[in-house]
């Protein structure tokens, strides 16, 4: 197999780590030295070789460990995966899209053999070899959405489209940045975005909804979103806030480099062919501050973005109390030199830290 999978945890001893390969391909979300909301959508049709944008569903060194973490979350709380009755067909659509994409994009890791509706699915990293009948739920150990998303990194919201509106009517959500599928299920697009500050006034959601309603089969789209997390936690759900919220108080000048993580979501949007539903995969990437500042451009820029972020956003993203500590740390990696435009690390052209 081409990818060396880490043995690591996202809880307890937090043995999660990024290799040099994972650091350099990290989806750094800031294309300039400041940040404000925008719809920032682009088409999701590949990207530079080796980048997280190259394949339809990125598979990286964290795959096997992330799936083990998902299984733990589901065992404790089965409501993290739900599908309203009319969304079963969209579940099959999701299963087909992921199986076809992964088997084509990673033929050394995944195989799909189809003989009519008789399908054989081989997932080598997870040691699965399973034959089932497409569109026949009785041939799977669980529903099609749960079956395939127990084998795919990232969260999956499945949105039904009715009357020019999107409804969150199914999903697999175990690696979320403080929101809850069980709370949001059945809500429409404006309802589940209600807690976000500033963006409503800016008309962002109205424009985003129009864009999403028009996403067409064969033409997926993507965008990045970001927040901050103390310790490499995948499951930062409201249900478990009592476990992880308190960890935000454990930051010190000594441990911030290893404990504080930038959390980036690569969000993609696919029109599903049979159900006409919209699939919304949300893939979470974590990087510690100490790893991030090994890229000089990113260290400079992150300091400037965090420093200049409006207070409402730092509050909404949950790090307003820790912002002074973060700025103390990050300012050590900002020598005031200009940064090049765009998100890429530009290691060959950016000067090293001048202080």
């Amino acid at each position: 197999m081409t990818i060396q999978f880490n043995t690591e945890t996202f809880r307890d001893d937090y043995s999660f780590r990024n290799s040099d390969w994972a650091i350099k391909r990290f989806p750094f979300p800031f294309h300039e030295d400041s940040y404000m909301y925008s719809v920032n959508m682009e088409q999701h049709r590949g990207g530079p070789k080796g980048s997280v944008y190259e394949m339809r569903f990125d598979v990286d060194e964290h795959y096997v460990s992330e799936m083990a973490d998902r299984a733990i979350v589901l065992a404790e709380d089965p409501l993290r995966c739900q599908s309203l009755p009319h969304m079963t067909l969209a579940g099959w659509d999701t299963l087909e899209l992921i199986m076809v994409s992964k088997s084509e994009d990673y033929p050394d890791l995944f195989e799909l053999h189809r003989d009519g509706n008789r399908w054989r699915w081989i997932n080598k990293p997870m040691d699965i070899d399973h034959t089932f009948t497409f569109l026949d739920e009785t041939t799977l150990p669980c529903g099609p959405l749960e079956y395939i998303t127990r084998q795919a990194q990232g969260d999956y919201a499945v949105l039904d489209q009715r009357d020019d509106m999107l409804y969150m009517d199914a999903g697999m959500v175990t690696t979320q940045a403080d929101w809850s599928l069980d709370f949001d299920i059945g809500m429409d697009f404006f309802e589940w975005h209600a807690p976000v500050p500033l963006a409503h006034e800016m008309g962002i959601f109205k424009r985003a909804l129009k864009f999403l309603l028009n996403i067409q089969q064969g033409a997926p789209a993507r965008r990045l979103n970001w927040t901050m997390t103390v310790n490499p936690l995948l499951d930062t759900s409201p249900e478990n806030y009592h476990k992880w919220g308190v960890q935000k108080t454990t930051l010190t000048p000594e441990n911030i480099g290893s404990k504080q993580h930038l959390r980036v979501e690569l969000q993609t949007f696919y029109r599903l062919p049979r159900s006409n539903a919209l699939l919304f995969p949300i893939r979470c990437y974590l990087i510690s501050f100490q790893d991030l500042v090994t890229i000089p451009k990113w260290g400079r820029r992150l300091h400037r973005v965090i420093r200049d972020l409006p207070e409402e956003l730092a509050t909404y993203k949950g790090f307003i109390d820790n912002r002074p500590l973060m700025l103390d740390y990050l300012s050590r990696y900002d020598d005031g030199l200009p940064t090049s435009p765009g998100v890429w690390p530009d290691l060959d052209t950016e000067p090293s830290l001048q202080k």
């Binding site: 990207g47 009755p85 067909l89 087909e96 009357d163 064969g218 990045l224 599903l272 062919p273 998100v343």
Partner: protein, 328 residues
């Protein structure tokens, strides 16, 4: 994020096809079947979806949307049915007169503006004339899923009803046909009265029929969200007018029988589109300057946007007046 060096493409993804069969259905309607030129299976589609067919009519590009009427589970072919419209703008005439088996054509990926509401406990289909086509894929889907449905189909005469024999033969208890020449009509009021809670109604046919179903259902207390319709708005002819496209820096003439969108395309300017029927929102264009009156025909813009004169949907809407400058 500007992650990848790619530009957003206008409109829908396209598929290169070959006409694999042309089957006369009756004296007005023919079914056109397509195979992919690359030999691959077609993408699956959802019931109610349409495709836009590109027709190269002697150098003039015509693009017409047609409902996909084949079985969504059969990815080896796509099929559409085209009713010949002798008074129309020429697309259906081109299909009937010039397209032959073996011809290469280009169609778009499926787009669905008329989906089934899969929450429905029962689905009632009301078809008028060629409006039968989206229901054929809906019936195939519901039959496979074990869904409850019934159909009421109004046509001028039995001979002009497309697929009447197949439908009544296969589903004698579920399909009801009403012929104008027998003075038969869909008994809409009693039909709406007798439906179980959670039933959804779908209507496809002429505008008058669609309005009749919506208003009757509303009068009978049906929730708006349970009544669905699809009407492809063909661009209506109108007086020729002149438009300046400021980004492209050209002045173009829109003819009596072409749409503003077609005129823009004819002059070599790329513009996004999907449905070409005023419903999808893709071709929304900003008006930079206007002195005159808009004839908005779309279903997309809000009333206040129509009134503002700041936006136009070039696929179906027109303009009467001295000056029109568009941000295109």
């Amino acid at each position: 994020m500007s992650a990848a060096p790619q530009k957003a493409k206008a409109g829908a993804e396209k598929i290169e096809v070959e006409v694999s069969a042309i089957v006369p259905v009756n004296e007005l309607v023919s079914r056109f079947e397509f195979k992919r030129r690359d030999g691959q299976p077609f993408p699956p589609f959802s019931a109610g979806a349409h495709t836009v067919v590109e027709m190269n009519d002697n150098g003039r590009m015509r693009l017409n949307p047609y409902s996909l009427m084949s079985d969504p589970a059969d990815t080896s072919i796509y099929a559409i049915s085209v009713r010949r419209d002798d008074e129309g703008r020429g697309g259906s005439l081109f299909m009937h007169r010039h397209v032959k088996v073996g011809d290469p054509m280009t169609i778009t990926y499926p787009v669905n503006l008329f989906p089934l509401d899969l929450r429905g406990h029962k689905h009632v289909f009301l078809a008028g004339g060629i409006g039968i086509t989206p229901f054929l894929s809906m019936i195939a889907t519901l039959e496979r899923m074990g869904g409850r449905w019934e159909m009421h189909y109004a046509c001028r005469s039995k001979a002009l009803g497309s697929y009447v024999d197949e439908l009544t033969g296969r589903h004698p208890d579920k399909v009801h046909v009403y012929c104008d020449d027998q003075d038969e009509a869909i008994p809409l009021e009693s039909l709406l009265d007798g439906q179980p809670l959670g039933t959804h109604v779908y209507v496809c046919g002429p505008a008058g029929m669609i309005n009749w179903v919506h208003s009757t259902a509303e009068a009978h207390g049906w929730p708006k969200e349970h009544v669905h319709s699809e009407e492809f708005l063909a661009p209506q002819p109108g007086k020729p007018f002149e438009v300046r496209l400021c980004k492209s820096d050209i002045v173009i003439q829109v003819g009596e029988h072409e749409s503003l969108l077609e005129a823009i395309e004819r002059c070599g300017v790329q513009a996004p589109f999907l449905c070409r029927g005023g419903a999808c929102g893709q071709c929304e264009t900003d008006v930079v300057e206007a002195d005159g009156e808009f004839i908005h025909r779309d279903h997309w813009l809000e009333e206040e946007e129509h009134a503002s004169g700041k936006k136009i949907m070039p696929c179906v809407s027109r303009f009467v007046g001295k000056t029109l400058v568009l941000d295109r």
